[in-house]
Symmetry: D2
Subunit: 409 residues, 4 copies
């Protein structure tokens, strides 16, 4: 009996080409697995394509709900934004896809897992770290780091040579990655950062700012312990809510970024990313945190969020540190329950009211008027002691004849 | 001869009222000092007003250039954003104003400095920390923490009782703070965060999004070592550049935030802030950092920026830590030289091209095509060692029969 | 019926003096509460003393077990060391004592809590923050910030005037604070940091190094999820274990530090602290973490530990951030189970063997010999990509004619 | 003319073997370079040995002073300690050695640099990162990752086959690395962490604790801006001072650690390290920082020190982040000037007095007695505002019926 390999399969040219290549070079039985994380996978005919390309079997596994609830929302709760801009759309899907591949490898008793990520990208790292963490004995095969196929044309030729009917739409466009959270575009003229990209040709989830409606639209989102649970007052599961937010956010041209980022593998890359619903959720979550977190927690959570974003970006999801940070985050989220109202208008998300039972904003204390909860005279003692280290330092400077050195003449 | 007090004087009702109050309660000679940080101070008649209110002298000191170059730009270079939203507009002016007050106190041999900040706010802390750091022997008087005047009406009555002709426009509006970098609005209905604020009544520097032009506009900004030096190819000093950016940014409705923030004195407050030029500069600076900083530097600078923002917010400008962090920041900025092009459109700042001689984006390496600078096979070794800790952990788990515990059935 | 006040009572001169002072100045019924955190409280006659001094009642509450298990061990698990030296001996007892005071205040329906901490120290802050967090309506009375008593002599005189028989041993020595975790010494000649302190006169828990035995002694400690559970193979509860470690550690002169620290209230202070058992536990715990934590977790936990130490020091125990950090810490401790062996000798704790089922030290991989788990050639790819940002930077420098600038001629 | 390679040469078996191997496999002219960082290199006969082994030339370069002043002291000033224990003895020498190799490669016009570090260790990373950063076009050859020689015996056999007279002392002992700052021991039974190591057989710089003198010894060290400049009142250069401190520290058994550490390449390793002088310097430096740094600076510098230690450990010396962090550190060190006195006794370093003109310890303020610089009543206002966030939170809890949930019944 032949040994088996699990192939992460999309039905596209690359992963189709890998099937005969695996059989030729490893003599494996190829089991194709298509993981659906909301990319809007075309299912029709996928099994037939996989089998006629030489796979012995195709599993289709829709894990969109798991993706949203167990990967996206924990990252949202952490407030993780890579390098201050990137909402981790591609990154956060990878550990889940890899976990599913391991699942099928264990189920099938496969010897290896094969993926179609390239040798310059982040995804190879993310896939392989997860596989290593979950099932270190599995062999990993990454054809793009091995084979001689260097281009689309090479791949087509290889398929023809192996009697595989391709019959797929030509897509000579950007390199794209899609899931329910985001859509990324890389390559072609985007590789030159001096050129202004033509959003009208690139964007697929979002209207351009110019084409977005001239009328604004109001939405409300309810959160419970950091997780969005209702849109416009209607309770819905995470997947439905995100789908609806993508719709309305995309309509108003929200959530498009143009980013040069530092990859894991030591180089910079550039891409245009669309995250309409996600951008709204991040902003809504942040507004609630401004209302309900105290200064110390907010401050340290910023440091934790930076680290969390790096771990997600680097593929370090199944690690002790990420797990411990999630425990930290979850504890902070116990008070992130409330309602945020936004006006959406031509790329802008404008706060239009916010409330929470856990609000730490206390109008009675914060008001310009004096209330009984706050004695203005306390401020004097506070400032004296808060400033005491500076006074001590100034006295030391005076002793050393360095006082007044910072006062301009 | 009477002892002297330096009064931070604006010509408004509050600081006008303070003059007779100081004379009555301390028997001081009151020397008024008006520090101009670009707030568009009305100078005409100011001296007369001060003198007729009882001051013996008025100094007017325009330090807008110092404000921009020595306070705003170092904060911009640090990328300091308080609680992820606030560009520190009011905060960053305070240490400079206080430093100037100390300057005049030393020059005049005054015994005390008096300011009109209230007992619930941040500014009292910022003023007094700086005074303490620079001249610890000076007495500080903060009338709002002491006197019985509780309202505008009380103040007017007190002035009338002291024969002071007020003749000032009634401003029963928001509490505002203005300088060349920003304008803040607090109070009135803004104290209720559930209500949508009416931007059309509040904003002064910026158009509302709806009123912003339907035509986009392109600008370019040149930076040298983290400092903006030219707009649309024209070299200009910092103050002129910021003034021009405020104009164009305001026109397009850029840089309005609605923020609930954690004050130094332990409460939350809420305000609407306009920072049109500053918002553009922060974004331009960030884009250049994405192009020119490596991953490690970018990462740690985020932590430093959070701390820097807290120190500026807290009034800790003249402190050893802030000074040391500026040394760190300046070193990172040696490569932040280049040109950024933006499209401005209805509140949006859209990247439209970026370049730098110090760019670390290397098209040859980052391209999907293979080049000689990067061997895809290196990625395999990299991932193996980067993932080795996970492999070791998995082997430990296997020994303890805990392997596969993270793989869903 | 009189209103009640809860007094934190020790039986010493200070808290004895406070009883008549409270009755005189507030007309309160004074309920004395003595919280035992292992300080070796003399119980005999304490009730009589409290009652004859004017208290209506004395509660004695031994919470040593809670102290050790719910305050000390969580801090140990965090690895929290204030300013790299201080094991937080006094700090960590304060929130528990204050929580107990609140408990009795609620039980008795008291209006206020009174403590004997001075106006320059940290403890007032720690007591009052906890009281505020747990029961914000309680009034807090801190006599040392109010009364005219400035010295021991004043206090004695005040007691005599109020017919209180003192009959207490004269202690004109250092200011001390004791609990099961530590003993601190401050004041007298210690206020001059240029003088060498005479340990032979100061130390009470520890032998001086010179007097410690000339023979070394071996101990083993077992940990389970970060908590010590056995000494020399014998399972014991935390309190017993700590008591036994204090004995053996003190014998060998372990755990004495001489520290100048930054207080919460803006000044520096200086003290000699004895923490014999605690020092051994911290080191044992750290050694296990070196064995069982991966590099990333170890690294971030250092940052968390610094913050945790500051929160404990500052009295911020009952805060959302401390609680969230404990959730983080607990998650990391799931693998801190194992056994550490030490040689104790004249102040030194020398590692003499360590083991854990969760060890990530893998002899097969780490050995100088080659094994199948590690391919030396992988290192090449790893280094190439780990160093790629430096290569890209070097190429940028070359283009700008800056290459070789760091190579000395 | 043959192409040239620069070989990092020590005269030991490994690097001797590399010479014929390089000639056989690459047909290079081999230029041997011996970098002296204070390891006590035997110079006599070294040139002859290199030439008879086939090298065309030997450079001997004593850079001990540069090592101490430009690498060790900046790391000391940073307070960098890797994983809380390791003073970075081996790590910090590597970038300097690599920089020197690059210097000779440029001088000789060589094509490649060859080093004898193994494929599992940290040093290969440190060497190669520096070479890449300084001269990215140079080829790097690491024989241990390539050749078939797997053992000492293999190497001897290879030399004999190539007619090289070895005539070197057999050293079948620990793998050691030495420089003026430290000496490390790895391998053999140290690979088993459960075994107690026999210090009496391992240590070379230090007495065992038992053999250290029974008499204590006092020393004083003077620092200027964070750098040690005098020992026992006698000014001396860094190298002489460190040499003298190694002597006295080693005599008293100071500075021996037994560490399991996380390597760069993903595994843990275990070693015994001796750093007698360095341990004293780190402690002296830390004591001065306790005296002269304020709380905020001390706190953030701890975070910076952790990162700095990781960068040194990881070989990232010639990087923008390390350079920026050194700028930060240098700024903090402006006040680290003063004198520290220690008693050394059987492994212990006991503080025996400290002083500085920049001391922030102010006896007048810190004293238990009341002075005019501090008003006890200020503490009340301070605590009220410092605790205000907790009060606000408590009020929120009360509204939600969650108050008193943390008070034990």
């Amino acid at each position: 009996m032949k040994k088996k390999v699990i192939l992460a399969y999309s039905g596209g040219l690359d992963t189709t080409t890998i099937i005969p290549w695996l059989k030729e070079n490893y003599d494996y039985e190829v089991i194709a697995v298509c993981i659906d994380v909301g990319q809007g996978q075309e299912i029709d005919g996928l099994e037939e394509r996989a089998l006629t390309s030489g796979a012995s079997k195709l599993y289709i596994d829709d894990v969109t709900d798991i993706f949203v609830n167990e990967y996206v929302f924990p990252t949202l709760k952490a407030g993780a934004v890579y390098e201050n801009k990137y909402l981790l759309g591609t990154s956060i899907a990878r550990p889940l896809i890899a976990e599913r591949l391991v699942h099928y490898a264990l189920k099938e008793g496969a010897e290896a897992i094969c993926h179609g990520a390239t040798g310059k990208g982040n995804d190879q790292v993310r896939f392989e770290l997860t596989i290593t963490a979950l099932a270190p004995h599995l062999k990993i095969i990454a054809p793009w780091r091995i084979w001689d196929i260097k281009s689309r044309e090479d791949a087509i030729e290889y398929c023809i040579k192996n009697d595989i009917k391709l019959n797929m739409k030509k897509d000579s466009s950007y390199s794209r990655d899609k899931n329910l959270w985001h859509l990324s575009h890389e390559g072609l003229e985007l590789e030159n950062p001096t050129i202004e990209p033509d959003h009208s040709k690139i964007l697929q989830m979002c209207n351009t700012l110019e084409n977005a409606p001239d009328e604004s639209e109001y939405i409300t989102i309810d959160f419970q312990e950091g997780i969005p649970i209702a849109l416009n007052g209607m309770k819905m599961d995470g997947t439905s809510l995100l789908r609806a937010l993508n719709e309305v956010g995309g309509k108003h041209g929200i959530g498009v970024i143009d980013l040069i980022e530092n990859r894991i593998v030591g180089m910079k890359s550039r891409g245009i990313y669309e995250t309409p619903g996600g951008t709204i959720l991040y902003k809504a979550h942040q507004e609630l945190e401004h209302l309900c977190l105290d200064k110390e927690t907010y401050s340290f959570k910023q440091i934790a969020a930076t680290k969390f974003s790096e771990m997600v970006y680097n593929g370090q999801w199944f690690t002790p540190l990420r797990e411990a940070m999630s425990a930290f985050v979850d504890e902070t989220q116990k008070v992130i329950t409330g309602k945020v109202r936004f006006k959406l208008y031509k790329g802008n998300i404008v706060l239009a009211g916010i409330e929470s039972d856990y609000s730490l904003y206390n109008e009675e204390i914060s008001s310009f008027d004096t209330g009984e909860l706050y004695d203005h005279k306390d401020a004097e003692g506070f400032i004296r002691l808060f400033g005491l280290p500076l006074k001590v330092r100034a006295l030391m400077k005076e002793k050393n004849n360095q006082l007044y050195e910072d006062v301009k003449k």
